[in-house]
Amino acid sequence: MSAHATLATARRVLRQLLRDRRTVGLIVVVPSFLLVILNFAFDSQPSTFDRIAPTMVGLIPFITMFIVTSIAMLRERTSGTLERLMSMSVAKLDLMAGYAIAFGAAAAAEVVVAAVVVFGILDTPADHSVAAIVAVGVLSAVLGMVMGLFVSAFATTEFQAVQFMPAFVLPQLLICGLFVDRSRMAGWLEGIAWAMPLTYVYDALDRLTSPGSIGGLFWLDLGVIAGAALVSLALGAVTLRRRTP
């Protein structure tokens, strides 16, 4: 590992991202736009919006970063730049850490804007600290990023990479507890939900947006999220192979 190579990679990835103004705009604006729509959709049930919106602030970056990273990594693989990097003396972890810093920064911008919209403009009440929601949002973005990095190894075209979003992310979103209480699901599905990383992101956010004390389980959720991110990171490192067939 070298901090020098990590920072150089982070700077390079950020430069690429910033050059693509439209993508930056979409990353920053779309989540807030969706939340505003949701606000008007729940016009007659404001309490439902107040329950859902804060969790959405933390869940959306997971989805965005999963897509962005899987495409970015796929490009790195298909453009030959990954092969060039692997023929150089760059550590794989430097590469992934560089990506994590750059996309983590992008995710932070996304979450902050969404938080300003939800808690500032739409005036949704927050039971606990908004900063904690933003922090969990960035953590969920990093989790989405490393999972996107890992699954990009199984895509050979950008079409496939885009389809991984509905294949890997939507099922997790459907069963994480946001739409249906997990205890009311079929038993086997609830079991699967417990094995999905996004469930713990939802739980952590749910604890932050529910009245009463946060409780020690919140820290357990964070531990599970961090653990899942590390496992994905290790799996992702395995897919970045120096030697290919």
Partner: protein, 246 residues
């Protein structure tokens, strides 16, 4: 500079190399040596195994058997990777970054000083395009950015896969002058090409066909041994001879 076990060891030493790609034996059993400071032309029809051999030398190819030693260390070894520059056939640089941003990134990974970046840009004659986004350049220009990205690392061994494809004759001549001046500084170059008249620029030539080395000689030596005056004819003669034997 990384550890140098023996500065006199050959730049590249390949022994009994066997590579299988996608179920096909690309290199059945190849052995060869390249000396330091040598400019070696790797020639042969497409599908003859040139790229696979180059990938094996730079350590990104899975090999089935054999030993590869590069600058005295096993190919792909961490210490040797920083001293080998590899330029793939398709330009492998970031299309959404400018020329200079690409070189700054690869330079930073090599810990190259800033003036090295300007030197690399000058070497490939891209000064006037330094601020342009690579994706807006022509194919030949992109290829030169890719070459410059390998030059910033000041490699001891440069492995170039068809670096002159799509370049006009003037640029091709200039690039070969660059290769020669690198070689005179002690850099070893392995250059693959389809263009036979480029072979004359090399100190020595490796002719590959179906993964087998059918000739390894100086350009003049090849002409003499085949009784031809033209390298193109020499290659045809060698290939015919090979055909007669099998």
């Amino acid at each position: 500079m990384a550890t140098e076990p023996d500065p006199r060891s050959p730049a590249v030493s390949v022994a009994d190399l066997r590579v299988i790609r996608g179920g096909t034996v690309v290199l059945p059993d190849l052995s060869l040596k390249v000396d330091r400071g040598e400019v070696v032309g790797l020639l042969g029809p497409s599908g003859s195994g040139k790229t696979t051999l180059m990938r094996s030398i730079v350590g990104v190819q899975q090999v089935a058997a054999g030993t590869l030693t590069v600058l005295g260390l096993p190919a792909g070894d961490r210490d040797v990777r920083s001293r080998v520059g590899y330029v793939t056939q398709a330009a492998s640089v970031y299309n959404d970054l400018t020329v200079i941003e690409n070189l700054q990134y690869f330079g930073a990974l090599h810990r190259a000083p800033p003036d090295e970046i300007n030197r690399a840009i000058d070497a490939v004659d891209l000064g006037e395009f330094a601020g342009r986004v690579v994706g807006s350049l022509s194919g030949g220009q992109r290829g030169r950015v890719s070459l410059a990205a390998a030059l910033v690392g000041k490699p001891n061994l440069l492995v170039l896969d068809e670096p002159t494809v799509g370049l006009d004759p003037v640029l091709r001549r200039d690039l070969w002058a660059t290769f020669r001046s690198l070689a005179s500084d002690g850099v070893t170059l392995i250059v693959s090409s389809h263009v036979m008249d480029e072979a004359d620029e090399c100190d020595s030539i490796i002719l590959l066909r179906d993964g087998k080395m059918i000739a390894r000689d100086t350009p003049q030596g090849l002409r003499d041994s085949t009784g031809t005056t033209d390298l193109e004819d020499a290659f045809l003669r060698l290939i015919e001879r090979e055909g007669d034997l099998t």
